[in-house]
């Protein structure tokens, strides 16, 4: 009856958690569910149809939901609480969903025209190949949710996280509408040099990765790299592994 592919962590029929003893124990569960709703929403925003323009109403509603969750999490101060969850398992889930994301969008893209947003890629490239940046951005997007958590480890204050998050949301909206050359420049202005490092690292690894990804993934790559210099470098081996899976090399 329901769509397969995403691990479901829904809180349908959940009991009222306010003001009861059981409620105190249930609070982490509410956070977990809220987190999973957040993840689901982010995947929904990224997973757009390659050939037809995404439904703007749907995107706006999902983005508003994401903002609402993020604001509530900031108010609760529960950004810190995220890291207490087992990140290993959580990130695996995200890996899975991104993998499926890539697979389904790659299948759609076979033999089809490259979407217009990828001009963002071309402008940015210079001497880079399109393939490498695609794979890099995919890998970086997998990094993205994990980096949101690792940011917490570094004791950054929630306000900064909010800013990072807000930027990624905004950039999704930028890509949703018709891009002007100026908008593309605005996106670039926030990318720092670590982006290039990641690129050179990955250039040698890529061979045949197809252009199959929604540009929403790319919008995620920019904000994460601004805060994850050290993380990227230290997670290099994991990144290799992820990228290998994704490009099936």
């Amino acid at each position: 009856m329901f769509v397969r592919g995403l691990k479901r962590k829904c809180f349908d029929g959940e009991e009222d958690i306010e003001g009861t003893l059981a409620g105190i124990k249930a609070i982490p569960s509410y956070n977990l569910q809220r987190q999973s709703l957040l993840d689901m929403s982010l995947v929904k925003l990224q997973l757009c149809h390659m050939l037809v323009e995404p439904n703007l109403c749907r995107s706006v509603l999902i983005a508003n939901t994401v903002r609402q969750i993020q604001e509530e999490m900031t108010q609760d101060g529960t950004w810190q609480m995220i890291n207490t969850q087992s990140t290993g398992q959580a990130s695996l889930d995200r890996l899975v969903s991104t993998d499926i994301l890539c697979r389904s969008s790659r299948e759609q893209a076979e033999g089809k025209h490259v979407p217009g947003y990828s001009t963002f890629n071309k402008d940015f490239e210079g001497d880079q190949t399109q393939d490498s940046s695609e794979a890099m951005s995919t890998a970086a997007s997998v990094q993205a949710p994990r980096n949101l958590q690792s940011n917490v480890w570094e004791m950054e204050n929630p306000q900064e996280n909010k800013g990072t998050f807000q930027k990624s949301l905004d950039q999704i909206f930028e890509t949703l509408e018709n891009k002007s050359p100026n908008a593309v420049e605005d996106l670039f202005s926030e990318v720092d040099n670590s982006y290039y490092d990641l690129d050179t690292m990955l250039t040698g690894m890529m061979s045949n990765s197809k252009m199959g990804h929604c540009d929403g993934l790319e919008t995620f790559s920019s904000p994460t790299t601004t805060t994850s210099n050290s993380n990227c470098k230290s997670d290099l081996n994991e990144l290799d592994h992820i990228v290998e899976i994704l490009v099936e090399s």
Partner: protein
Amino acid sequence: ADIISTVEFNHTGELLATGDKGGRVVIFQREQESKNQPHRRGEYNVYSTFQSHEPEFDYLKSLEIEEKINKIRWLPQQNAAYFLLSTNDKTVKLWKVSERDKRPEGYNLKDEDGRLRDPSMITVLRVPVLRPMDLMVEATPRRVFANAHTYHINSISVNSDYETYMSADDLRINLWNFEITNQSFNIVDIKPANMEELTEVITAAEFHPHHCNTFVYSSSKGTIRLCDMRTSALCDRHAKFFEEPEDPSNRSFFSEIISSISDVKFSHSGRYIMTRDYLTVKVWDLNMENRPIETYQVHDYLRSKLCSLYENDCIFDKFECVWNGSDSVIMTGSYNNFFRMFDRNTKRDVTLEASRENSKPRAILKPRKVCMGGKRRKDEISVDSLDFSKKILHTAWHPSENIIAVAATNNLYIFQDKVN
């Protein structure tokens, strides 16, 4: 057969138009009632079929433009021909549907097959005569209103002056004159200067049935704005603003999504508007902006399933709603091929099903019931058995009689009142 994406009766109810995902329009015409067969009370038969829109490719954005017909609206009949507007995401077209039951015979310069005759063989001058022929219905595109919408058109509405109409997309509403295709006036623009600040979109729009200066549009935040075109050229400032205060006890992360209005319709009287959001239908009095006068629960049993419905995207389904001719009954669709009718006077409601398996032709429809949990009575359906792929988004009600058209995916059902 393709998935039906819009259904609309014309102003007399004689014609019923459907548009589908493949860009085709099929028009049904009601049979003349005959005394010989009184039990066949004017059934609808196919009258005309034509391809209204073709898939296009936007080379600038490298995106396909779907040929799916989003809306059809009829123009009132002013001569022997019928006119309708049909629209896809980007382009509105005015179609003329006319009958031809005579053809000229006896041309001078060409023979019966249409081939030109050799002029040297022509010795007699004759005037062509009109002779009867088998009825032929032809549809011709008379106007194409293109390139005025950056976003996807969700509504079109013919003005009561019969000279203008409006088309609404996610962020803008344009006013057109039927005669002019290379210009349109922008009357509403809610696009923020910075797209990053976008939090609300236009979901539906309609002209007032009698006042040609008044229209309403609904938003994804559950609000309706009524605008008067006499106040200014750009109607960004509403004359009335309809919004129901949120119920804090029902608040969840999905509150905004389920409050998004998917359809707005004026009553025939022009006094009320009806809005459809995900779980309810609401009737508003134009004179009272702070809350609706009536709220009807369409399928409240889904309230506890919102997370699953969010996951499978069903929560974004856009259901339409319709008034009957006298504004006493309202109808809207649901899942599992169910549709609901609410009698505003008696406050009674009924759930019916549009499916071949569960009803024979000419049999009276049996009311259906969904049970929430616990003991399921015979003939009831449990919420978990509902088929969410069978959704009735589009329905239409004959302007004066109790005849309804219900689109269930790629099937069209027409139901009538039982005659004794």
